[in-house]
Subunit: 293 residues, 2 copies
Amino acid sequence: MNARTDAGTRIEKTLEAAIARAGGEGAPPQLAAAMRYAVFPGGARIRPRLALGVAGACGNDQPGLAAAAAAAIELLHCASLVHDDLPCFDNAATRRGKISVHCAFGESLAVLAGDGLIVMAFEILARAGVEAPHRLAPLVTTIAASTGMPNGIVAGQAWESEPEIDLSQYHRAKTGALFSAATRAGALAAGGDPDAWRPLGEFLGEAYQVADDLHDIASDAADIGKPTGQDAAHGRASAAALLGVDGAIDRLDALVADAIASIPPCAGAAELKAVIRVAAERFVPKSLARVAA
Amino acid sequence: MNARTDAGTRIEKTLEAAIARAGGEGAPPQLAAAMRYAVFPGGARIRPRLALGVAGACGNDQPGLAAAAAAAIELLHCASLVHDDLPCFDNAATRRGKISVHCAFGESLAVLAGDGLIVMAFEILARAGVEAPHRLAPLVTTIAASTGMPNGIVAGQAWESEPEIDLSQYHRAKTGALFSAATRAGALAAGGDPDAWRPLGEFLGEAYQVADDLHDIASDAADIGKPTGQDAAHGRASAAALLGVDGAIDRLDALVADAIASIPPCAGAAELKAVIRVAAERFVPKSLARVAA
C-alpha cells in the first residue's frame, strides 16, 4: 500500500467511525441515514488529502489528530454542499452523481444533516485532541475561522445574498478558506508552523475556483455529477467568463505551479508534490482535457 | 452589582464580542446583521446563567473559559431557534416578540445565520481554551455531543421528521441535552466534576420541557413572543396533554425541587439555588401564574 492509498483509507475510516457514532444508540434513523448519504460515497476528498499530505510533510507525530483534522474539514465541506443545494440556494437536484440530500430525504432533514455534520467536525477534533491538548485550541480556531464568519465558507455563501458582491472576498471565503484551512490544519496537527503552509492552501484554493468555473461552462452534468451552467443561470461572476476558456486554463496551470513552488523545504516535499499533481489533474474537466489533447 | 447581575453582564459582553468579531473586516453585511438579530435582544438566557452558576459553585478559576462555555451554549440555542423557525419546520413568523430571522432576512440568510452561530460557538470555546488547554477537549466534546447526533438538540429536532417518534428520546435530546450540557460545561470550565452536576441539568431540562408544554397551551402569543398552540397544530406529544394542566404544574414543581436537592455540597450552593429559583419562576406562563394566584 503506497502513501496515497494509505491516506485515502485513513480518511474513509475516520469518516466512517464518525458517521457510525452519529447513528449510535438513540439516533433518529432518518437523520442518521441522511448524514451517511451526504458523506458517502465521497468526491475526490481533495481537502482532507491535502491536510494529510501536509501533516506527513511535517512528520505526522500525532496521526490520530491529523486524521481527525482532515476528516473534520471534509465533514464541513460536505455540510456546505448539503446546505448550498437547498431550494433557497442553488436548488440542485443532483450532487456527486446522485440525488441531492434534500431531494432524497426532504428539506428538514437536509438542514439538520448539515447542522449535524458541522457539529460532528468539531466533536471529532476534540475527541482526538485529548492526545495533544496544546494543539487543539489553534486547530479548532483555524478550522472554525475558515468555516464561519467573517471570512469562512459560510461567509462566502452569504455573499451570494448581497446586492453588491465583493468578488475577491467571495471567492477567497467560499473556496479558498477551506483549502487554506486544510494546509494549516495539517501543519498544526503535526506540530508544524501553520503560516509556512498558508500560501500552498491559498494557491490551490484559487486554482480549484478557476477549475470549478471551467467545469461549470465546459463539462456536461454527467461528468461532474451536479448541474452545470449554474454561474450563468445565477448571474455569478466566473474566471472563465473574465479570461476566456484558454486564459482560464493558463491561469490554472500557473496557480498549480505557484502552489508547488510554495512548499517549504521538508522531508516529505517530494511525496506532497506528487499528491498535488494528482489532485490538480482531477481539477480539469474531462471534456476540456479531451480538447487540450 | 450582585452576582446575578454580574453573570448577566458577562454573558451579554461575551456574546457581543463574538458577534462583533463575526461582523469584522470582510464580512457580508446582511449575514452579519442576521446573526446579530438572532442573538440580541436575548430571551431569559437560562442556559448560560445555569452554566455560569455551576462554574461559580465550582470556584470559577478560569472565568474567561466559563463565560465562553456559557455563551457557546447560548449561541447553539439561538442557532436551533433560527433553524427550527424555518418554513420546512415550524414556519414561525415570530420569535422572542419580534419577526423571526427568515421572515426578516429571507430563508437563505436564516440557514447561514444558524450555520454561522454553530461554528461561532466552537470558535469562542477554542479561543478561550488557550488559557486552559487540558479543559478544552472535554468541554468541546460535551457541548458538541449535546448539540449533534445521536443525542443532542439536532437529533431532538430530527425526531419530528420520523414516522414513529421515541418520545423520551425526543424530549431528552430536544430540550434536556442543552440543559445537561450547561451544568456539565460550567463544571468542566471551572475544573469541577461534570458527572456530579449532570442530574441538576437533567431535572431542569425536564422541568423546562413541561413548562414549555404548559406555555404552548396556556399562554397567548404576546406573553411569550412566539406562536402558541404549536404542539396541537403539529400533532406533537405534550406533558400538559398527558397530565392535564394541574398535573403538569405539580410535575414542574416536583422537578424543580429535585433539581435543587441534586446540587452537590459546595461553597456556592446557596447562590446557585437562588439562581435556579428565579429561573424556575420565569418558566411558568403569566396567565397560569394568574390562574394559580
